[in-house]
Every structure is written in C-alpha cells, then in structure tokens.
Amino acid sequence: MFRHTPLRYAVLAILAIAALMQAFTAGYFGLEILIEILILCLLVLALDLVAGFGGMVSLCHGALMGVGAYAFVALNALAGLDPWLAALGAVAITAAVAWVIGAVCARSHGIYFIMATLAFGQMGYSYVFSAPLFGGDDGIGGIDRFDLTALGIDLSDSRTFALFCLAVLAAAYLFTVAILRSGLGRSLAGVMHNEKRMKALGLITWRVKADVFGLSGVIAGVAGVLAAQHIQFISPGLMNWTVSGEALVVVILGGLGTLVGPLVGAAAFVVMKHQLGEITTYWHLIVGVILIAVVMSRANGIFGWVEARWGARIERRLSDATRASTPKEVSTDA
C-alpha cells in the first residue's frame, strides 16, 4: 500500500522546483526535453500503478499511449472535433481499451501476463502501421493543441505548454495517489500480495485488476493526447513495443512501486538519452549496459536504492525536526 514518506515528499518537492525552474529558464530545446520528460512521467505513472501496485507488468503501455494519441487524432484532425472534446473521447477510448486488455489478461500471471500484453500492444501497432486512415507508417499530422486563449493562455508557446503539462502531471499524480488510497487501490494491493486470499474473501479479483488497468489507461490516454499535441504529429513508432519496454525500464530504473522513483527515472532517462545521443549514435549500448548494471545490483532502482540506504536515516532526521517544531505525536504512517 502506498505511503508518502518524508523522503518522498522531499523528492517530489525537489522535482517540482526543478521542473518549474527549467520551465522558466530553459531555451527552446530545454523546454522540449522538459515536455518529453513530463509526458514520459505520465506514462510511467500509469505503468507503476499497475506494475508496482498490482503486479501487472505490462508491455503494452506504450501502445495504450498510442491509442490515446491516435484516438485524439481521429477525433480531432479527422472528425474535426474540438480538442477538448476529442481529448475527452480519446481518454475514454483508451480507458475502455485498457479495461478490456486488463480483463482478458487478468487470468494470466508472470511471464504470460507480460507476453499477453505485448501481444495486444503489437496488435495495435500492426494495425496503425498498415491503416491508410492514419497514414500508415508515415504517420499523421494536423493536430491542434488545446485552446486556452479565452483564459489568456497560449499553449502554442513551448513554455506555456510545458507548464500546462506539468500541471496535468501534478493532477495525474494526485489522481494516482487517490486511486491507491481508495478501497479499490487497497484491494489491488491485496491482490498483488495474495490473490488467492482476496478471492477467498469474496473479491472478484479480475474486476479489480481490469478496473485499475482501465484507470491506468486513463493516465496513459492523457499522456497520448499530450504527446500528440506536443509534436503535433504522430506515427506508429509511438506504439512499438520498445516504447513500452523503455517505459518499464524507466519504472525499474526509478524504483518500482514508489511512484516518485519512476518520475526521477523518467527525468534521468530522457536527459541521459539526449546527452548520450549528442556524443554517439550508439547510445543504446550505453543505456543497455546501465540498465543491466542497475537490475543486476538488485536494488529497487535509483530511488529504491536511496530509500533503502538513506531512507531510514533521513526519515528519522526529518521526523526529529518535525517533532522539534510541532510537539504533536508523529503518526505511525510517516
């Protein structure tokens, strides 16, 4: 079950401040990277929700994001709907698709779950790859960003769009925490810890899994809508299984089941990719080696490692500080 520790709050605060500073000071490309990070953050948040808290290691989340993006394009660029309506529709479609995938795969476990989700993801990829409606391999453009000019906000400006994405991410983070704190989220944790017992208690576990998968699809769908609006052009590459693989890498690099960790991982991954990409076109090699090293080290990602190593000490210090400032008792949850 998800708990906010002082360490997690601290890291969240640092991330938020860093993102805001970057948003207000960065040049054009810095903003592009920031937006890329924020969208990836949404995706890994969605993935951590199912993988870290439900044990559903999905290899189709990239494809789900693609469903969001393509559904948005279909409703916005092709059907001519207002971007807000189109986004709403796209998120609903993604959630529905995710729910169905979750329901079908709920009976599979371990590697079978991974493979089953992979199959669904590739099915979507193959479809858009060969669908003339969506421009096939060439992709499709003509995508509008949200119109907030009524509020005096111009999202065509990179800085504004970055801040908008940051706000969406913050909302998505709160949404995820709310899910995890709800009865549904608690049941999900129960299912991950002991599915057999949850069944014996009368919980229809596949429904819980499917529901959370669908909710995860909501976040993935939002990520897809933003991704489509960011580049204003999408192509099937977005749905390839390697995108899902990279998202999983980020979740693990960051720290599975910590919510905060994957956000750190996303930032680290995108920055690393761009830095290495500047130096060499063989950056995959370096990322691969780092990935192997991290997983082999058996730590739960960067954040998990920090938590395991310093978490207790930092917490003690922070709670000492809290106690000193407020004489109230510190709750056991902290």
Binding site: E32, D138, Q232, F233, S235, T281
Partner: protein, 393 residues
C-alpha cells in the same frame, strides 16, 4: 611551445575575422537518420554531401556551419529535431530527410517558418504536389517520377501483362501507382498487385508463388533496404526468372545492396535516376572522388547528397546568405551533374532529371550495371501544387 603560440595566433585570426565577415557564415541543418533501419542511407547521403561541399564549396569564401541531427526512423523525432534546428540553432537552411514520413511531418513547420529545405531523398509525391511549398526544393526524385518512364518503356519492349509487388506503405503504393498508370496508359495490363506488410515480411515466398501463378509476362516490384536483398535472393531461389522476369524500381538493385545480392541480381532490369555506370565526365569524376574518400562505389543516395551540397553551393554563389534569399535562389538552381542535366521545376520545386533503365550483370569485380536506355527528363505533373510565385513570410 612555439607551436602552441602559432595555434593560438591562428585561432585568434579566425576569431577576429567573423566580425568582419559575419554575413559569410551560414548555418545548415543536416537532418538524416543515423540510427535505425535507415542509418545506412543517412550515412551514404552524408558522405555524398560532405564530398559535394569539399568539391564545390571551398572557394566560396563562406563558412558553412553544419548542425547534424538524427531523425532516427520516426516522423515525430524528425519533427522535434527540425524544431530544434529552426528555433534553437537558427539555421539558414536544412538539408536531408530520408523518409517520406519525416518529410510529411516537417512540411508545415518549414513552410510556416520560412526555412529552405533541400530534400535529399524522401520521394513522396505530395511534397512537390498538393503539399508543395516554395521553401521545399527536392533534388532527389519523386516516387512517380522514377517509375512512370519505366511503365512506358516496358510496354514498348512488348511486355503485355505485369504483376506488381511492393511493401504496404505510402511510398510503396506511390511507386506502383506511378508505374501502373504509365504502363496501362501505354496499353499494358496489370494482372494483380500485392502489398506486403512493411518491415514485417521476411518470407516473400507466398507472394512470389502468387505472382507466378498469375501467369503474367513480368513482375514489377519496389523494395528497398534489407527487404530488397531478401526479395531478390528469394526470387532467384524460386528460379522464376524464365517465366516471370523481374523488373523494378531501381532501388531494388541499388549499388548499396547489389553486392550483397550477388548473382541473384543477375538479369534484373530496373529504372532509376542514377546508376554509378552512367557514362558522362561529371559522373566519372564523382565516382572516382567518392571511391577515394570512402573506398566504395557511390549509390543514388550518395549522389543525392552530393547534388544537395552542389545545389546549396550554387545558391550561395548567387550571394544568398539567409533563409529568404537562399529559398529563392535554390529554386533557380540548375547544373550538369553525375545524373546528367538537372533543373528545378518552378511549378513544383521538384527536380527534373533523366531516368536510366539498367540491367544488373556479373562483371569482373562483382556485380555491375549496364545502362540499357536513358529516358528523357520530364517534369512531374503539377498534382495540385499551387506554388506561390515568390516565397513570402
């Protein structure tokens, strides 16, 4: 110590100069795939481009600052990198683009921002058709352009019925459309067309068997890259050559792959805007220089890079230095190059160039290609392009 001082002095002079000749530097974005499935094409175009700059650009007195960006294979990445070139690096012109998808993705951006783009490969017909832009000049080819003359030529050779195969994506379909249109217009019949799942088809056996069963006089295909090698090898292994001779768009037997195809490519007749065995002095010089520089024979991709550099240099020679003047000058470019006489069609900004029909045969040091016919250059139909008379912002 002395050398160090000299070096510092030299650095100082070059540093001092730009102030005086600020107008004489141009920033050029080189936008190519350096990783992913098209990496080899990106490298080939870059090599040609570098050679072109070295050959023609030295006496220009203009310092060309290159900004190299990797588009990978994804249009979205290509678009993001183009934005970076335009907004952050503030380039005066962009050269490159291999995949039609990337070109389609960046079209509105370069058009809207008013940045000249020299297309060095991507052949989608719309880019110089209904989606044409005064800012986009193509020195490579268009999908229809390289295949239409072949349709007519094959009909003239007495071939009456043809079966076609191509990968199932926009470029594949356009190549076949261009060919089939001209072929049927000239009196031929298309007996059947299959489009194979792009980049997912590894076994062409089922399709080849299908084509054989159709009883057509000939097979016309478009494949490129790894698929071209697989296809030619698998076609040869079925021994279908006697009943169903293989024709194709020239990318099928590109210089890049023909050695890998080996004897399998023997007798395959294809048409393209360039083949290294074209007999003219410019080509002889180009092939020799390219071999010196890289140790390999140039392909059509190399010549596209080379001519893109030459077009840029020609435009710079007119005194153009910024986006606007370069954009205008690029549309006026014409020269005799390795491909023969090239010009830009003012109606579409697409290159006008001759097309060569050639047969691949076994030569002394491996496979070589004999030019069977040089088909006259003709401008593409306008295809709905309404070109503004002059670039405007």
């Amino acid at each position: 110590m002395k050398r160090a001082t000299l070096a510092t002095l030299a650095a100082a002079t070059t540093l001092a100069l730009p102030a005086a000749t600020a107008a004489d530097t141009v920033d050029i974005g080189l936008l190519l795939p350096f990783s992913g499935v098209y990496a080899s094409l990106g490298n080939e175009i870059e090599a040609g481009f570098a050679l072109g700059l070295a050959t023609y650009g030295n006496e220009l007195g203009v310092e060309i600052i290159l900004h190299r960006e990797d588009t990978e294979v994804t249009p979205a990445v290509g678009l993001a990198r183009t934005r970076k070139l335009i907004l952050q690096d503030d380039v005066d012109a962009i050269v490159g683009i291999v995949s039609s998808g990337v070109l389609g993705a960046v079209r509105d951006l370069v058009d809207g921002a008013g940045v000249p783009l020299i297309v060095a490969n991507a052949g989608n017909d719309e880019a110089t058709g209904e989606a044409c832009s005064p800012w986009i000049t193509r020195v490579s080819f268009s999908n229809g352009q390289v295949n239409r003359p072949m349709g007519r030529w094959m009909a003239e050779q007495g071939i009456e019925t043809v079966y076609t195969l191509a990968p199932d994506y926009a470029a594949g379909r356009q190549m076949i459309e261009g060919f089939a249109g001209a072929f049927t217009e000239a009196g031929g019949t298309i007996l059947g067309s299959d489009f194979t799942p792009f980049q997912q088809t590894q076994d062409f056996g089922p399709y080849i068997a299908q084509a054989q069963a159709s009883g057509a006089d000939a097979l016309f295909v478009f494949y490129a890259g790894g698929e071209a090698i697989s296809f030619v090898n698998q076609y040869a292994s079925f021994g279908a050559g006697d009943d169903l001779p293989l024709y194709g768009s020239g990318f099928l037997t590109s210089q890049l792959y023909v050695d890998a195809q080996g004897p399998s490519a023997e007798g395959v007749i294809t048409a393209l805007h360039y083949v290294p065995t074209i007999d003219n002095p410019e080509n002889a010089a180009f092939v020799a220089a390219f071999r010196d520089a890289t140790g390999r024979t140039p392909s059509e991709y190399a010549v596209q890079g080379y001519d893109a550099a030459r077009a840029l240099v020609e435009a710079l020679e007119t005194g153009a230095r910024d986006r606007e003047t370069l954009g205008a000058a690029l549309r006026q470019v014409s020269f005799d190059g390795p491909r023969g006489a090239l010009a830009i069609d003012p109606a579409t900004n697409n290159v006008v160039q001759p097309i060569y029909v050639y047969e691949t045969v076994t030569g002394e040091g491996g496979m070589t290609q004999i030019v069977l016919a040089q088909l006259p250059a003709e401008a593409d139909p306008v295809n709905g392009c309404a070109m503004p008379s002059m670039p405007t912002n």
